[in-house]
């Protein structure tokens, strides 16, 4: 117990003193997760809108499949991306293995179902009369979709924040794709995992506290966005 308290004390000192390693890993993690979330927003908010507004056979099945992938194991996503970008994989020539870009790709795929599903359900929460009302006021399809997305903005913010939360807390794919290389691909989660393995409890606790703080901030933001939508 004393050892744990001592480690906790050291970890606080590491955070408060702005330890370069801790800061570097934190910033890299935020950068990777933010990039993945931004990329996912650019891809999956429009994709979710298309699924929501378009009528096509099998739409309900597609939405069920998307929702079923909410809880896809991160290690499985890591494995799929690894097979895709490994030297012998179809995207091997891009040289993404053991790079931050590779981790971003894995995280984009990981958060895709969550973001798509939440965007679709967020749009579903907007009045069913909205699209036709907007079109009858002269809106084109894209203007109409933009206005409906704006109506669902609290739900969209929740989708983005939850996706960011899933990306930043991910460990399996980051480890598999990034390789946990110091100074290049090490993230908060992989660093914690490594630190625990090496017995560097204080540094792991420091990184864990930072990760927890980020998770709490994201959670509070999601809650606030949800309150606004009600």
């Amino acid at each position: 117990m004393d050892k744990l308290a001592e480690a906790f004390g050291i970890s606080l000192r590491l955070i408060l003193s702005g330890d370069p390693t801790v800061v570097e890993v934190t910033l890299r993690t935020l950068g990777i997760s933010a990039s993945a979330t931004l990329l996912a927003c650019l891809l999956f908010i429009p994709a979710g809108a298309i699924v929501h507004f378009a009528s096509f056979p099998g739409k309900k099945i597609l939405i069920s499949v998307i929702q079923a992938f909410y809880s896809v194991p991160t290690v499985f996503v890591g494995l799929v991306v690894f097979l895709l970008i490994s030297r012998t994989g179809p995207l091997g020539s891009l040289g993404l293995l053991f790079t931050r870009q590779g981790i971003v790709l894995a995280e984009v795929l990981l958060i895709a179902p969550v973001m798509l599903g939440l965007v679709i359900s967020g749009l579903k929460g907007v009045s069913a009369d909205a699209p036709d009302t907007l079109r009858t006021l002269g809106a084109g399809r894209i203007q109409m979709a933009a206005a409906v997305l704006r109506e669902a903005s609290p739900a969209m913010i929740s989708a983005v924040l939850l996706s960011f939360g899933r990306a930043i807390s991910e460990v399996g794919a980051a480890m598999m794709i990034g390789g946990n290389i110091a100074g290049r691909t090490r993230t908060l989660t992989t660093a914690i995992s490594l630190g625990v393995g090496k017995g560097e409890t204080a540094e792991s606790i420091a990184l864990g506290l930072i990760l927890l703080s980020i998770a709490l901030v994201v959670s509070a933001a999601v809650h606030m966005a949800g309150s606004r939508s009600r």
Binding site: D129, D132, R135, T136, L137, G138, A139, Q143, R150, E151
Partner: protein, 349 residues
């Protein structure tokens, strides 16, 4: 703008909502599409606004077939406006909602114009109000202002009075009349309420089971309904099929005296409930129809009573004062005489 629907049909799943509907709305007219709930009025309006396409048939604007979708349809839709039965309001102020139509057309809203439009619909000073806090009647007015601000040539109204309080309806009717005569735009209004139709329309059509049962002037529809269903739908009570011969109308086994001979052999007669008197003894009078009847039921409606009477071959409803009902001691099963003047019998040809 002239609107035409030519022989349009539309099904949703196995349900056929429009079945060969055809109608022509003249430029500058106030056309009323009348029909019971679920007869296809909303679908017809949505089709006219090019929100949905027909399975067969065509929609024409100014005599030219309208495109079903795409930019050309959007461009055409921007020349008209549809006010939905349950208006959807965007989050934000009434002003933001009112100016939305201008924004999507890439036009810069003029605050003074917006305020003037809100004032015209009776919402002066409502610009900064949160749109989703408006009452039903206010919502309808806000939706109307929003639709009118871009200056549509054709205004489509889907049951605009449906969520308006009865006391506020005359005001909204007056507003629609003013807008129609003042702006000169073509208006198509769907309603199931014949009072609104008569008060506002210059012409119209009765939509039943997805097709037009009768079209023409509202006076024609009301006074010369094509079928018994239409006569009943437009609010005629005590409507009976009749075969005319001179001053007699033979309604099944009942002979009813009418005031003037009619030029047709078959038609309908309608007897307003207020025209029927009830007495315990036969009432004398050469121009009066006096028919023995049995009281079936009484319904207290406040100042008056609706009395359902069974005659030899049909039933009639009479409206009398509560005092009269009490004086006569009317109860179910009581034998009475129903009488009404020949001049009060409406002939529907």
């Amino acid at each position: 703008m002239r609107l035409g629907l030519q022989n349009v049909s539309k099904s949703f799943g196995s349900r056929r909502v429009l079945d060969g509907l055809s109608m022509e709305v003249p430029e500058g007219g106030f056309f009323v599409l009348i029909g019971p709930t679920g007869c296809g009025k909303t679908t017809a309006l949505r089709m006219a606004d090019l929100l949905i396409g027909p399975d067969s048939g065509s929609v024409t604007i100014d005599g030219i077939e309208a495109p079903g979708s795409g930019r050309a349809a959007t461009a055409l839709r921007r020349r008209m406006s549809l006010v939905m039965q349950r208006p959807f309001m965007l989050a934000g102020s009434v002003r933001r909602n009112t100016e939305y139509g201008l924004a999507v057309r890439g036009l810069r809203p003029d605050r003074a114009n917006t305020e003037a439009m809100l004032e015209a619909v009776g919402l002066a000073g409502y610009g900064d109000r949160e749109a989703n806090t408006l009452s039903g009647g206010e919502l309808q007015k806000a939706a109307l202002a929003r639709s009118l601000l871009p200056g549509p040539e054709l205004l489509l109204l889907d049951e605009p009075m449906s969520s308006v309080d009865p006391e506020a309806r005359p005001g909204l009717r007056a507003l629609l009349r003013r807008l129609h005569s003042g702006l000169g735009i073509t208006i198509v209004m769907a309603t199931h309420d014949f009072t609104d139709a008569l008060a506002l329309g210059t012409c119209g059509a009765v939509l039943m089971d997805g097709r037009i049962s009768q079209a023409g002037t509202l006076d024609d529809i009301f006074h010369r309904p094509a079928t018994l269903e239409i006569a009943r739908f437009v609010g005629q009570v005590n409507v009976l099929s009749a075969v005319f011969s001179g001053l007699d109308a033979s309604c099944g086994g009942l002979r009813i005296r009418i005031a003037e001979p009619v030029p047709v052999r078959k038609g309908f007669v309608a007897i307003p409930p207020e025209a029927i008197s009830i007495s315990l003894e036969p009432v004398e009078g050469s121009q009066r129809n006096v028919i023995p009847a049995v009281v079936m039921s009484l319904e207290d409606t406040g100042w008056t009573c609706l009395v359902e009477l069974e005659l030899s071959c049909c039933r009639l409803t009479a409206r009398i004062t509560r005092e009269s009902a009490a004086d006569l001691g009317l109860v179910g099963g009581k034998s009475v005489y129903a009488s009404f003047k020949a001049t009060q019998v409406r002939v529907l040809q």
